[in-house]
């Protein structure tokens, strides 16, 4: 009896250690859950990047009908594009983006600056490249996430598919419409700068955000999501556009599906509300 009791108490530290480890494990899981309340941003599907090659090889004729036809004036065949004018707002109905656009330049290290993380719902326009609608490549940059909001303005960029439409309001009161041709993920270390920023004969648009895995040591994303789009023409005045339609996630079911983990009692400014209303041309 005494031997048995000694045996029990002799190994009691194992039980204590076990209980302690179990508790610590549960705590770590709980912490990680709090840390990781967001679903990862959608990654471009392989089929979304495939048309890129086809698009690069055979340029679509200027008058080709759009996959999802809005009312646009087809770009002129000979002199493509609009005069230079800074973009002020962008709407991407397919992923519910409606954001103000600010000009950004260089970051001092030869790279492109981005809007501050403190304003994660702003989109930056690289103002040393073409303006949206002007011949050449126009580049818009947005954050994928930020500690302040969780998902940021381009959180769902990787979910775009070829044929989706992008509307850009410009300072000259014109709306340039673009059609997505491909969506790809590139390693940050091998970022295709020539392809993204490079001169194009026609007006093109590129949307860039972070993607892929996050390196906890460097605090940087390892990949970049790039959306390539071609100019479809100007939005015609007096017609209804998809960009006029109500945001697709006004209902809570859609919100929960798109942003699992979001605190819907405390909606984030700019994520569900459209504060670009006054920036679009009057119809």
């Amino acid at each position: 009896m005494a031997a048995a009791r000694r045996g029990n108490t002799g190994h009691l530290w194992v039980a204590y250690l076990g209980i302690w480890l179990f508790g610590a494990g549960l705590l770590a899981i709980a912490l990680s859950h709090r840390e990781h309340r967001w679903a990862p941003p959608p990654a471009p599907s392989p089929s979304a990047s495939r048309p890129l090659l086809a698009a690069a090889r055979t340029r679509a004729p200027a008058g080709r009908p759009l996959a999802r036809a809005p009312a646009v004036s087809a770009p002129a065949a000979r002199a493509p594009g609009l005069p230079r004018s800074a973009p002020v707002a962008v709407r991407i109905p397919a992923i519910g983006v409606a954001a103000k656009v600010i000009p950004v330049g260089l970051d001092g290290h030869g790279g492109v600056a981005v809007p501050p993380l403190a304003t994660p719902m702003l989109v930056g326009w690289y103002d040393r490249g073409a303006a949206p609608g002007q011949a050449g490549a126009a580049v818009l940059l947005g954050h994928v996430d930020s500690a302040a909001t969780g998902p940021a303005v381009f959180y769902r960029l990787g979910g775009l598919t070829p044929g989706d439409l992008i509307y850009v309001a410009r300072q000259d009161n014109r709306t340039a419409v673009f059609e997505v041709t491909s969506v790809s993920l590139y390693p940050a270390a091998d970022f295709p700068a020539l392809r993204v920023y490079g001169l194009t004969a026609d007006p093109t648009l590129r949307l860039v955000t972070c993607g892929g895995d996050f390196d906890l040591r460097t605090r940087h994303y390892l990949d970049r999501t790039v959306v390539f789009a071609r100019y479809a023409g100007q939005a015609l005045r007096g017609t209804r556009h998809a960009c006029d339609a109500p945001r697709p996630w006004r209902d809570s079911a859609t919100r929960t599906r798109l942003f699992p983990g979001l605190d819907h009692q405390r909606p984030l400014p700019g994520l569900f509300s459209d504060n670009t209303e006054g920036l679009w041309p009057r119809r």
Binding site: S32, H36, G110, V112, S146, Y186
Partner: protein
């Protein structure tokens, strides 16, 4: 009078080149009446400017000031086409990324600008990892293994303390 005729010819050729360039996937490869190859470059790389001045043309220059190069860079006569001039220049490695429109000037009065894009380096930093896959994943895995180890230890202890009295008595 001849100057005007050649200028007219050059303009017609320019129109043709624009049409041809528009039809091809990469316009920069097609020799145009005025152009730069490649039309997209990184700072520090070498690009070739060319212009078709027509005949007669005794010289042509590249106005390099906008590219942080000498103001008048003489171009050399090319054999491929009558009155075609070209010059290869190495862009300064300190040249800022952006869109540049240097002008090419023929001594017969023909002059035009061509567009060169110097691309920025590196990938823009767009996000702080709040929603990233890896951010919580590693902590979850660590938590699971800790909890698993703890449960194992408790089980071993419970098993031993049940078996011990029997084997001892």
């Amino acid at each position: 009078m001849r100057h005007i005729r050649f200028a007219g010819l050059a303009v017609a050729l320019a129109g043709l080149a624009v049409a041809v360039g528009g039809a091809a996937a990469v316009a920069a490869i097609v020799p145009a009446t005025i152009g730069v190859t490649p039309s997209t470059a990184t700072a520090g790389s070498t690009v070739t400017f060319s212009i078709l001045c027509g005949e007669p043309s005794g010289s042509a220059t590249l106005a390099g000031t906008v590219l942080d190069l000498p103001a008048r860079i003489p171009m050399t006569r090319q054999d491929q086409a009558a009155g075609e001039w070209a010059v290869s220049v190495t862009l300064p490695s300190t040249l800022l990324p952006g869109t540049y429109r240097p002008s090419l000037n023929c001594d017969n009065g023909l002059s035009d600008t061509t567009t060169l894009v110097v691309v920025p380096g590196g990938a823009p930093v767009t996000g702080d990892g709040t929603t990233a896959t890896a951010a919580g994943g590693q902590l979850t895995a660590a938590g699971l293994s800790l909890a698993g180890l703890g449960a194992l230890l408790v089980t071993v202890w419970a098993w031993r303390s049940r078996v011990r009295p029997g084997s001892g008595g």
